[in-house]
Symmetry: C2
Subunit: 167 residues, 2 copies
DNA sequence: CTGTAATAGTTGCATATGCAACCAAGTCAA
DNA sequence: TTGACTTGGTTGCATATGCAACTATTACAG
């Protein structure tokens, strides 16, 4: 007997794979910008951008918002602090937590990179078409939301594996 | 004077960022599968999947198809070989190159993981809706294609940065 | 042929990451 | 209060990764 007539798996149709390739391609392109200009890493740039957008907050908040590993945040914050881009001040409410905020220089850097990012994003949207870009935006957000609140979906937990909080 | 009225940058609308989050969320969920079952890494799984889909080929081909760094491929291939999942044989045409192919066990593993992957992908598509999934698929491919052939697009090279081949 | 440039892969090294274990501070019931 | 449990962050360690330098071939101009 031959093997059962299972549908063959094609990596080129596997969404996680395609998402990764697209993410890598677009992120790496922009990475050269903040890397060349400020020697920043992807994680650092994201934390800077989050602080720039939402204002002062704690490392824990950054983790919750951006889904970056706690240790990754911890180390990136240490580096950003050393570079004088952010300050850490003990939270008045909880002495365990530290409030993170951009310094003047941090704000300047954010403003600069933010403009580059906008141009980069515009170029990408133009290249794939505004309609496709808009719908991509919506779908990506939905996927991210699914991973965030797995319990609310009808998913068999496939997407939810290894989300420590939920166990 | 206040700062110029530049549009504020919002990370939550930045496609590279959203792509990364979605890619991470979906890939990590599936990662637990091949990791728990075969102790494989993401790169290893992808190489296995490429060989499973396209048949024997050289490391160079894998790089071209999957856009994985050559050193990453080199090391993953070494590991996969050590695990008895693939074999390497000198290419008859070019003594520098080595032809990579799945072993019987490699094919078995690929078949197994492939089925899991299909189920995983189906769950994801169902969760976001078939229409959205289909259009996502198309858009992602387009983005990937843009990065591959930057010269053909009207892009100002934004997406094309650091593609060694092109310089 | 012969010397130079390009190519397939590998490896050294410095950095980035993930996970588990670990502090210190807060919470809460009894 | 006190003692068990949770939570914000950090650190140790093993692994993964990126880039540059290097070896072995192959390609090719003259």
């Amino acid at each position: 007997m031959e093997t059962a007539p299972q549908p063959a798996f094609d990596l080129q149709d596997f969404l996680p794979y395609l998402l990764n390739q697209a993410a890598e391609a677009t992120s790496r392109a922009f990475q050269t910008t903040y890397r060349a200009a400020y020697g920043m890493t992807r994680t650092q740039w994201r934390i800077l951008a989050n602080l720039g957008k939402f204002g002062a907050m704690t490392a824990r908040d950054i983790c919750a918002i951006s889904h970056i590993e706690k240790t990754k945040v911890s180390r990136a914050v240490a580096t950003l602090t050393a570079q004088g881009l952010i300050t850490r001040s003990a939270s008045p409410k909880d002495r365990r937590a530290e409030l993170l905020a951009l310094t003047d220089r941090g704000r300047t850097v954010f403003a600069d990179l933010g403009q580059h990012a906008i141009r980069h994003d515009d170029a990408l949207r133009a290249a794939i078409g505004q309609d496709a870009a808009a719908s991509l935006h919506v779908t990506l957000r939905r996927i991210i939301a699914l991973a965030e609140a797995p319990a609310k979906t009808g998913l068999p937990g496939q997407l939810a594996v290894n989300t420590p909080r939920s166990i």
